[in-house]
């Protein structure tokens, strides 16, 4: 058996996984309506490519990935587009966001599917495009678009592929049951990814030892494939990407960098399954396994739900009793967030709906003073000092927060979980992170304004000097003219006319010709482009070496330079026309 490394900290909350494992994966009747948010992933919203009233088929693309980090959205069933508007979505803030609503026609009719059963013959590029086109985003909860993750393989050779089947959050069994029932398809998915990445030397599946059946299923299907199943003691949060990489390889992802910088790619087992479905069966990501758990529900089990299914639809079909329910959580009890309403849809990252009773998860007690007992720092998987971060967060001491590496906090909640004084520590950290990011953005804007102001000052000074020297030259000229002219009266008359003429001439020359304006703008554009290039180079440097803080700073200045280039280009086109 491969050596495993022990992460510092961690907690052992009650598993509560057996409740939802008594039944196999279930299916719900088709809901009347499906609501598909355009942002179900980390990154920017997808761009709608359908209109209200349009008839769509199951698997048809509704919105395509926009530039940068984004993922497409597909129709989970056939029907009509009945609305494209803001709806409340599953988000900690309870905010609204753009959604596409499909009223299902009940036929569930598929669009023509394009599949690649012989993916071995496809190029990496083709496979990646296929995965991107299928709208696959990390199904473990973070929702990072998979195609972009797999793209890192083209820049640096990937020698290790890690499949995350840890599922360390209590209650959630979605990965567990998927492995138990469909391990063969997951392995196929892993093989596709391995082919895409150019056959990494090491392929590991990391799983906690509280899932013996899943481990057995994986072992059975991995025989002879070169894929190694590594199980390790159950401890929260072993399933964090950074934690899992350390457990399996003993390597740490440097602060502010990505696993790809270590030559590693880490994917959730559910994502591997979705990739198999996309490539071999030609089905985009329109369903996922979601665990329904908690004592307020009569039935606890896993469902293969259609993305966009309202949470209320799931609850209604499982004898949900709101009177029993203390809060409704999307995700697990440690990192999940509470939903304000059950009308929000399930999305690509919805691992679990937890409806606990008041005895299961009672209301929080009021926080007591922090006595710096240190239980939190014993529990922190990143070796931070949560008790110190808490004091600095309350004092809004941004400098100290950063010197204590606030941005390396993964918000796993282990500190709050063990805190004997019931202090909502994670909430403090989230708020401080937001404050610092905002302050940095403001600072970057201020720096740009200052630069512009200083540049203007210099320009004005130069203009002053130029004007002064002109005036001086003119004075000398008139003096000379005076000396040369014999009659003073005559010269006064003619000189007045001369002055008017000269002034008119100056006026004409002052109004720069379009050519001059254009030339000036072109110079500005060139300078701005150079500045942008420089900023981008610096960004690459800090991405490799610098801290998360420096990266944010640099990102802001790249953005500023880009905007300047855009503005100048626009003005240039205006002048040209």
């Amino acid at each position: 058996m491969r050596q495993i490394w022990n992460t510092p900290g961690g907690v052992h909350p009650p598993d509560n996984k057996e409740q939802s494992l008594t039944k196999n994966i279930g299916h719900l009747p088709l809901p009347e309506k499906l609501i598909l948010p355009l942002t179900q992933h980390a990154g920017t919203a997808a761009k709608t490519c359908v209109v209200v009233g349009e008839k769509v088929l199951k698997g048809q693309k509704l919105a395509s990935a926009s530039a940068g980090i984004s993922a497409a959205v597909h129709a989970p069933s056939s029907g009509w587009i009945t609305a494209i508007e803001e709806r409340s979505v599953a988000h900690p803030s309870g905010m609204s966001a753009a959604c596409i609503e499909i009223t299902c026609d009940g036929e569930d009719r598929w669009i023509e599917r394009v599949s690649y059963p012989n993916y071995q013959q496809a190029s990496a590029m083709q496979l990646r495009d296929l995965i991107a086109d299928a709208g696959i985003a990390g199904l473990g909860g973070a929702g990072f678009p998979s195609a972009i993750k797999l793209d890192s393989g083209t820049k640096k050779p990937i020698d290790t592929l890690i499949i995350n089947a840890t599922e360390c959050e209590p209650y959630i069994t979605a990965d567990d049951i998927l492995i138990c029932e469909r391990a063969d398809q997951i392995i196929q998915g892993i093989d596709i990814v391995s082919h895409l990445l150019g056959k990494p030397k090491t392929i590991l599946i990391g799983i906690e030892n509280n899932k013996p059946e899943a481990i057995a299923a994986l072992n059975q299907h991995c025989q002879g494939t070169g894929i190694e199943v590594v199980y390790f003691p159950t401890k929260y949060p072993s399933g964090g990407e950074k934690q899992l990489i350390y457990i399996l390889t003993g390597k740490e992802v440097p602060s502010g960098q990505l696993p790809a910088d270590l030559g590693m790619v880490c994917l959730n087992s559910g994502t591997a399954f979705a990739i198999k479905r996309a490539v071999i069966d030609g089905e985009p990501l329109i369903s996922r396994i979601t665990t329904l758990a908690g004592e307020a529900c009569g039935v606890n089990r896993n469902y293969e739900i259609l993305i966009g299914t309202p949470v209320s639809h799931l609850l209604q079909h499982n004898n949900f009793d709101q009177a029993l329910c203390s809060r409704l959580i999307m995700g697990g009890p440690m990192m999940g967030f509470s939903l304000a309403s059950s009308e929000v849809p399930l999305i690509k990252t919805s691992t679990c709906i937890l409806a606990p009773s008041h005895t299961e998860i009672p209301d929080d007690e009021p926080p007591q003073p922090c006595i710096r007992c240190g239980l939190c720092s014993e529990a922190c998987p990143a070796s931070l000092l949560p008790q110190q971060l808490y004091w600095y967060s309350r004092a809004k001491d941004h400098e100290r927060l950063q010197s204590h590496n606030l941005f390396d906090c993964i918000e796993c909640g282990a500190c709050s979980y063990v805190c004997p004084s019931n202090i909502p520590l994670v909430q403090y950290y989230r708020s401080s992170k937001g404050d610092i990011t905002n302050a940095l953005a403001t600072k970057a804007t201020a720096a740009i304004s200052r630069e512009r102001f200083e540049f203007r000052q210099v320009r004005l000074e130069k203009a002053d000097i130029a004007r002064e020297s002109k005036r001086e030259a003119r004075r000398l000229n008139t003096e000379q003219a005076k000396k040369m002219s014999p009659s003073t009266t005559q010269s006064t008359g003619s000189s007045a006319a001369d002055i008017i003429k000269a002034a008119q001439l100056r006026g004409i020359t002052k109004q720069a010709s379009p050519e001059q304006q254009k030339a000036k703008l072109q110079r500005t554009l060139l300078a701005a482009q150079m500045r942008l290039e420089e900023a981008q180079q610096r960004l690459v440097q800090v991405t490799n070496k610098g801290s998360a803080h420096q990266q944010a700073q640099q990102l802001a200045s790249v953005e500023a330079a880009r905007r300047k280039v855009e503005q100048t280009t626009q003005r240039l086109t205006e002048v040209s026309h």
Binding site: K242, S341, S342, I371, R372, S377
Partner: protein
């Protein structure tokens, strides 16, 4: 359907601050029983006076600060301070001494700094030192352990003890005497061996000094129980005791007339174990990281020995702890743990590098 909005994580581990404090109080029980057996009713009377004055003082200040009294009293921190003081103050001390020390601890050393969690110094030790400096005679009058009393003398009974404490009568002669650390402090020219032979405190002792040795063992047991319950980590206590042992070994001097005493004597005398497991481990006033606690504990162990051996007080846990409290923020600055994904640990005051 509408639901309540709460931030993650949902649910907490069972242990609560009040329960931790209660556990600490409970862990002093073995030590308290041994001390009561050895030194009589005075301990219990100390405990009652200290607890009552601590709770009343805390309640009064909380009322002045407009804080919910009931909520804050339930964290039991005032009781912990009271218990530690009761164990440290001499039995049969006059009632006002206990009241002064306790009220000073709670009001000045704790609440005026902002209450639980905000005090830079250990409240019990501040109260103890204030009493020690202000009332040196009362504070250094210790009752003789029961096993050393002459056959015809016994410790005063409960009523008699109450009379002594509340009417300010000094206890009868023959019931008070020197402590093991006193003997070494006031040694003129005797070899360690001679001290051990001449004085019943040592000649009748099992290994360190009658009365205090078993009390220290009892505090050690209570402390280990807390360690097992994960109330604190081993770093602070072990560093303190280790340094104390190391220092007394280095300066043992072969038991000459200059020797400040053996490692065993130092580890099991005075407030060594009480200090190591119940004072050094006070999280509020100590350092925060484990590495910091090693340094902090070692510093206190070193200071305890230095003051015992060459200072003017026979015991020194209180002074050493207060000096350690002073140094804690400084130590914290240099002992921030290395975070995941970083090559090395940073200073607490490190500035973010910017372009």
């Amino acid at each position: 359907m509408v639901f309540k909005q709460v931030s993650s994580p949902h649910g907490h581990a069972r242990q609560k601050t009040g329960e931790i404090m209660q556990l600490v109080v409970l862990a002093t029980l073995p030590g308290f029983l041994v001390l009561t057996y050895q030194f009589g009713w005075g301990l219990l009377i100390n405990l009652l006076i200290a607890t009552l004055s601590a709770i009343s003082a805390e309640a009064l200040v909380l009322k002045l600060r407009n804080r919910p009294i009931d909520f804050y009293l339930r964290d039991y921190s005032a009781v912990v301070t009271a218990v530690l003081l009761a164990l440290a103050l001499p039995p049969l001390a006059p009632w006002w001494l206990v009241v002064v020390a306790t009220v000073f601890s709670i009001v000045i050393a704790k609440q005026l700094y902002g209450g639980l969690g905000s005090n830079p110094f250990n409240p019990a030790m501040v109260g103890y030192v204030v009493a020690l400096i202000s009332f040196p005679i009362e504070m250094t009058t210790w009752v003789t352990p029961i096993s050393l009393l002459a056959a015809d003398i016994s410790h005063p009974g409960l009523l008699e003890s109450l009379a002594i404490v509340f009417t300010d009568n000094s206890p009868v002669d023959g019931v008070t005497g020197a402590t093991p650390l006193d003997l070494f402090k006031h040694n003129d020219g005797l070899l360690v061996e001679q001290i051990y032979q001449n004085n019943t405190l040592f000649s009748r002792a099992s290994f360190a000094g009658v009365g205090w040795e078993w009390a220290n063992v009892a505090f050690l047991i209570g402390g280990l129980a807390l360690l097992k319950a994960r109330v604190f980590t081993w770093h602070g206590p072990m560093a303190m005791l280790g340094t104390l042992a190391l220092m007394s070994m280095l300066f043992w001097d072969g038991g000459s007339s200059n020797s400040p005493g053996s490692p065993i004597m130092h580890l099991f005398s005075g407030a060594s174990m009480l200090g190591a497991f119940f004072i050094v481990t006070d999280p509020v006033s100590s350092t925060v990281s484990n590495r910091g606690r090693l340094i902090y504990g070692a510093l206190i162990g070193l200071l305890v020995y230095v003051i015992r051996a060459w200072g003017s007080y026979p015991d020194a846990v209180a002074f050493a702890v207060l000096l350690g409290n002073f140094a804690a923020p400084f130590i914290d600055n240099y002992t921030v743990p290395r975070t995941y994904g970083h090559d090395k640990s940073r200073r607490a005051t490190a500035k973010e590098k910017s372009e």
